[in-house]
Symmetry: C2
Subunit: 358 residues, 2 copies
DNA sequence: CCGGTTTAGCAAACCGGTTTAGGCTAGATT
DNA sequence: AATCTAGCCTAAACCGGTTTGCTAAACCGG
């Protein structure tokens, strides 16, 4: 007698074994009231003894829902997960999703195509983060007909979304430095990842840049485009950014950095250059990720409610997934400057900085 | 004339519109060689004009695969994502998965039950991390018949898995401190999360504890169980752990911490207590997460190849998902001590520490 | 002109469930 | 006794695709 690889038992096997119809087996699991109690429990016993579990894919197909929400990003997942910003964001997403019993499915470009990855994904709805409204594939994605909430994309009309007041936060950061007496200010911006989108004015970084600029100009400091450097949004990125700026002869007393990860790199570069923070150089980050309060000196930064952003996105998404009748909800969360120890009064005389560098 | 909500077009709609059978439509997408070229392209045109995309769930059902791998953890996802260890691990997982065109699906306890979450998940295989072999649901999970690779669980026979040399790494850390002259050593261990598993001897932390112990004893330092404190595996956790130990009257000159996140908290607590690191207090972490080299002072820690662990787990998983004939592969990765600046010679006289504290 | 091979496309079965619309029986009602 | 109702269960249709035979026509060399 051959030992066959044991097929996974299906509903028909249970039905046959229990001497009932498939319908009865299905009812035993999903709708036991429609069966005599003893029949239902007998069916369940048989199912257990066979090790039967309803096939999740088949269920999805008939019920037309997957109980899964997708998190979509235009970047490779392998660059997302160890980014503390995404960590906190995903934490919020997970919190809201778990509460409602939804699982999480991550969608990233498949063979370079987001739309393709999207059409392969079995989700009830999608939270898109870091996807700019002008992304080439955004139309295809919307055309997939899956409920979609966009995060940090300048809102399309009719498109639910969550964003924050990037511009206001950046303006506060810039004004803070100016009020401390800084005049020579370096701006460190985020370089778009390889599949190089231009630095679009509608993107997050565009908004922050506008905020910096208006903050400077509001206080009478001229905005100098040559004092803007660009690097990858990582600790390393910030590190090389300051070194490069310094090497190019810039001698700022204050730095406005568009992400905390980069700001941490800037802090490190400052130490390497022999600059004391904040005595010689003031640094302001953006995002207020968890570690920012633990680095030394603790980082002055623009706080945004990252976890809440993730939670809200999921809440909004589920409200459209579950009842179709909603208006597209657009949520805007506040930012605020948190002054810690990485900023201080500008050094009196420029020489002071020069001397240290030498 | 009523405006009906437009049904998603199905294969039958395309077939009717193009005047062919469903089979032909299917071929046009998956097996165009079996059709005359002009027929195939006509079908694809019709499909495009209708906005037709094959329904991913239906595909999964017939093809019996989902092109998705699951990442399973016994903890809530909302505690996972902003943990830098998981961040790096997931990065490795994502890297290997993306290379093979697999998406990622995260599975965490559903209504408290991992097995239930598991049976709902549509994945081709699962990487389980932080799931101890003695977890109450591990049998049900294995019984689901889904290929499974366990990470950091003491290997079950017949069960593919990836682990690291926790014990060896911990021993090296302990010996390092002893060689620097430390005799009063505090051990900070990880408290199991709420659904409180005991601190099992087979768990990761059990292995590390054994390593510390054997490292101490090998160098003739007695292991004192009262010098082991327990706290959550977070920066906060480490912070309160040292404060609590200090408050209880312990006066270690060296601390062995079972995770870098906690070690960073310990560093901070030391600063709050007025202790200089490493002059007054030496601190050794475990894991070597990315930030550890950026905190100040840079953290001496036991390195483990976290990303590679994730990658390897997925590689092994896919090798069994794709061809069933493999032996269960068990991989063990090395750890090594990385000495940075948070450890140094023990202070000469105990008084030195006492004085500082005062 | 004939048997044999391609080629192009189709009908039907299948994946593994859920759901609709009844059917049958037994007890209650008229 | 005939009709109604309630309770329990089922056959068949359905979700939306893929795959397996099979057939009819075109092609081919002899």
């Amino acid at each position: 007698m051959e030992e066959r690889t044991p097929r996974r038992p299906r509903i028909a096997d249970v039905a046959r074994e229990a001497g009932v119809s498939k319908t009865a087996v299905s009812f035993a699991f999903n709708n036991p009231d429609r069966l005599a109690p003893e029949t239902a429990s007998r069916i369940r016993d048989v199912a257990d003894s066979l090790g039967y579990r309803p096939h999740p894919v088949a269920r999805m197909l008939t019920q037309r829902q997957t109980h899964t929400i997708g998190v979509l990003t235009p970047q490779a997942l392998s660059v997302i997960f160890s980014n503390p910003f995404f960590g906190a964001f995903n934490e919020g997403v997970a919190l809201a999703a778990e509460q409602e019993g939804y699982a999480l499915h991550f969608i990233s470009p498949l063979h370079g195509s987001l739309a393709q990855a999207m059409s392969q994904a079995t989700v009830d709805g999608v939270v898109a983060v870091g996807l700019s409204a002008s992304h080439p594939e955004v139309e295809q994605i919307r055309a997939a007909g899956v409920p979609l909430v966009m995060v940090d994309s300048s809102a399309l009309p009719d498109q639910p979304g969550v964003e924050i007041d990037d511009e206001g936060g950046a303006r506060a950061a810039a004004e803070h430095l100016v009020m401390l007496g800084h005049r020579d200010i370096l701006i460190v911006s985020v370089e778009p990842p390889p599949p190089a989108l231009e630095l679009e004015p509608e993107g997050v970084m565009g908004r922050r840049l506008r905020g910096y600029r208006s903050g400077l100009e509001a206080k009478g400091v001229e905005f100098d485009p040559r004092a803007v450097v660009v690097a990858p949004a990582s600790i390393e990125g910030g590190l090389v950014a300051l070194h490069r700026a310094w090497g190019a002869g810039l001698r700022p007393t204050g730095v406005l950095v568009m992400s905390d990860a980069m700001a941490i790199g800037v802090l490190r570069a400052a130490r390497e250059l022999g600059l004391r923070v904040p005595e010689d150089l003031s640094v302001v980050g953006f995002d207020d990720i968890d570690v920012s309060q633990h680095v030394s000196p603790p980082l002055t930064t623009v706080h945004q409610p990252i976890r809440r952003k993730g939670e809200s996105a999921v809440r909004i998404l589920l409200s459209v997934v579950q009842r179709r009748d909603r208006d597209p909800e657009q949520l805007r969360l506040e930012t605020r400057l948190i002054v810690r120890a990485s900023t201080g009064p500008a050094p009196r005389r420029r020489q002071e900085v020069e001397r240290v560098r030498g």
